[in-house]
């Protein structure tokens, strides 16, 4: 077992090395940016660490953030394994969250053993259907899913905002609450794992989903079929795979996960569905997935690092005033470097080879 792990580590060493260097470079660039804008980077990063680990409460928040990033990242990975780029997770998240919340609100007084599963189902169905539309368009009509999902994001977000903002039809009648739906009944809410933090028993559901994603993608024939379809659609077709079904299935699964993330946000800590339920959470998850080359295990590990930076940066903004958007800058720089990794290492190799050849030539000339 241990030798197996060391073997895979050795195999992945160049990749892990460039990942490490990319992260380091991104943090350095972040530091330079802080210096340029007149802040002390040591102070900044210290505030970030403290903001992510400083107390059990903030650590709970970091863990909760990790779950969101991990699930959204896996949602992206599930789709892209079958060649479907689901950029529309944000919209699916909104609709899933709203559907689950409204289900819970209507079922007030019913036993949680009936109501909560129904909320799960409605979140999954809402997210799944919203991903099914672009999937069908892609498979049946060959309309690019990248654009349709981006457009459907905006549609879903505006729609949910309309329904739940200060004059919307689903708005709460509770006094003193400006926007959002009625609160999910207390007994339906997930229990908190660390008190006063955002970390709830959603961690268990998330772990199950993450395990299922990894298992299906890496250990089953379905996962292999998805991979074949994603890599070469024609090959999949001529191998007798029902590629349409696989592609639609992968996209719907991706949407289902996003819908559940929306539900976890509300049932985990937000209590009400607010138009501000997600601040581009899906896009951050997407970045995690891209950095890790859509590998499920990598996404699970990387989402922790992203969560630390993200929660840390928000705390940094509150404590010393550096804009929390620094996290987005650091993330995107890591991606730039990782996406260019192949090209950069090839350029370095080429240069080395050229140098060697030149030295060789010179030697020959001397002889």
């Amino acid at each position: 077992m241990i030798s197996k792990i060391t073997d895979t580590l050795r195999e992945k060493r160049p990749y892990l090395m460039s990942l490490f260097l990319s992260i380091l470079a991104a943090l350095l660039i972040g530091a330079v940016l802080m210096i340029i804008t007149g802040y002390n980077p040591v102070e900044g990063y210290a505030a970030m660490i403290k903001g992510a680990f400083g107390s059990s409460r903030v650590f709970g928040n970091t863990m909760a953030k990790m779950l969101t990033l991990c699930l959204t990242g896996l949602a992206m990975a599930v789709g892209s394994q079958a060649g479907m780029f689901n950029v529309g997770g944000e919209g699916q998240l909104f609709l899933g969250g709203l559907a689950a919340t409204m289900t819970a609100v209507y079922l007030q007084g019913v036993s949680p053993f009936i109501a909560v599963p129904l909320a799960f189902i409605s979140a999954a169905v809402a997210g799944g259907i919203y991903a099914w539309i672009p999937a069908m368009l892609k498979v049946k009509l060959n309309v690019s899913e990248v654009i349709t999902t981006i457009m459907l994001n905006s549609v879903a977000i505006y729609l949910c905002t309309y329904l739940t903002n200060s004059s919307g039809p689903l708005r709460t009648h509770d006094r003193g609450v400006m926007a959002g739906t009625d609160a999910v009944p207390k007994d339906f809410m997930f229990e908190q794992v660390i008190s006063r933090s955002n970390l709830s028993t959603a961690i268990i559901y998330s772990a199950v989903i993450a395990f299922l994603c990894w298992y299906v993608m890496k250990k089953t024939s379905v996962g292999l079929e998805m991979k074949i379809t994603g890599e070469n659609e024609r090959f999949a077709f001529f191998s007798g795979l029902s590629k349409d079904k696989i592609m639609i299935g992968a996209m719907v699964a991706s949407g289902v996960i996003c819908g559940l993330v929306g539900m976890f946000e509300v049932f985990g800590y937000q209590q009400r569905f607010l138009p501000s339920i997600s601040n581009e959470f899906y896009f951050d998850g997407m970045l995690v997935a891209m950095i890790m080359n859509y590998s499920p295990l990598g996404i699970i590990l990387m989402s922790f690092f992203f969560a630390v930076i993200d929660i840390g940066a928000n705390a940094m903004e509150l404590s010393i005033g550096i804009s929390g958007e620094l996290s987005e800058i650091i993330f995107s720089i890591i991606i730039f470097l990782m996406a260019a990794e192949g090209g950069i290492s090839k350029a370095v190799q080429d240069r080395r080879a050229r140098k060697k050849a030149r030295a060789h030539l010179r030697e020959e000339a001397v002889q």
Binding site: L33, L141, V143, V146, L159, S167, M290, A340, G343, A347
Partner: protein, 312 residues
């Protein structure tokens, strides 16, 4: 009836021109990269940076021209940046494009906070907006007069740029090479012209166009910068490029149609339709138009094949 006239009036057409202009500009850039064989979904970020730089320098230098100039310069830099990754280092266009959008969103908000000390929106009386153009002799013509007069100067420049883009692509050797770099890079290389170089040029031109689009957005359309103000316009421009099959006049029409729909949304708000509902119109329409264009080109291809078969 009176409600209808409140929606469909000259203001609708005026708004169409105003709202379509940034999309047209970005789409012109997008069609150049598309012709050069690069899928560019990073335009949204390019527009955002342009918008920010334009406002920042208009405010700091008290000159709108300076704002536009610096927006264009930033566009050139982003174009080079994009091309280095996508062309030189052969990175995945999709990943680089998405990362560019995130980067632009993060950077603009970060700089907004650290330079101007505000969060969300930056508007100040010291931001100089772009001048509007008043053409005297048009005053007395009923519909055209109010429609073509008093628009921001970029509205007119945009029309000129659409024509110039067409001229460049289809009437100059550079345009020919640029198209070849997307369609047959090997043949172009055989002819002794570097396909990489043409792709670089396309990316840089796209950056410039998006810089213009951003500058118009923040100095012409509005006089302020707000977080994420590009509001998916880059993606809509990308969709327009696909509807218009990367052909300048067709892309122009597609972008005008988008502008019309957005303007219609604005008008509908004035008769009491909620803003969040009308805001979905352009996005829904984009999806529908995309379906239509894909299906219709597919059908055309099939018909053509059928005819050829019959001939045999």
């Amino acid at each position: 009836m009176s409600q209808l006239s409140e929606v469909f009036n000259i203001g609708l057409l005026q708004n169409t021109l105003r709202t379509a202009t940034p999309v047209i500009l970005a789409a012109m850039g997008g069609l150049l990269t598309e012709q050069a064989g690069i899928m560019n979904i990073g335009m949204d970020g390019m527009i955002l940076v342009g918008a920010f730089v334009a406002v920042a320098f208009s405010y700091l230098c008290a000159s709108a021209a300076m704002g536009v100039l610096m927006a264009v310069l930033s566009g050139i830099l982003i174009g080079i940046f994009f091309a280095v990754f996508v062309v030189k280092l052969r990175s995945d266009e999709f990943i680089i494009g998405m990362a560019l959008n995130t980067f632009a969103a993060g950077l603009t908000v970060y700089l907004l906070r650290s330079i101007f000390g505000v969060k969300g929106t930056f508007s100040d009386a010291a931001i100089v907006s772009l001048p509007t153009v008043h053409i005297g002799f048009l005053e007395n013509i009923p519909v055209l007069g109010p429609l073509l007069n008093d628009n921001s100067i970029f509205v007119y420049i945009t029309w000129l740029l659409v024509f110039l883009t067409w001229l460049f692509l289809y009437r100059t050797p550079y345009g020919f090479w640029l198209r070849a770099s997307g369609e047959h890079p090997e043949s172009l290389e055989t002819a002794g012209i570097s396909a990489h170089k043409m792709k670089f040029i396309a990316s840089i031109l796209c950056g410039i166009f998006c810089g213009f689009a951003g500058a118009h957005l923040s100095l012409g359309y509005l006089t302020m910068f707000s977080e994420g103000m590009s509001n998916s316009r880059g993606f809509i421009a990308f969709a327009c490029v696909i509807f218009g099959m990367a052909n300048p006049p067709k892309v122009f029409l597609a972008a005008l149609l988008f502008g019309f729909l957005q303007a219609l949304g604005l008008r509908l708000q004035s008769v009491g339709v909620p803003a969040d509902i009308t805001s979905t119109i352009p996005y829904l329409a984009t999806v529908l138009m995309l379906i239509y264009i894909v299906v219709s080109t597919d059908r055309k291809k099939k018909n053509k094949a059928k005819k050829q078969l019959e001939r045999i």
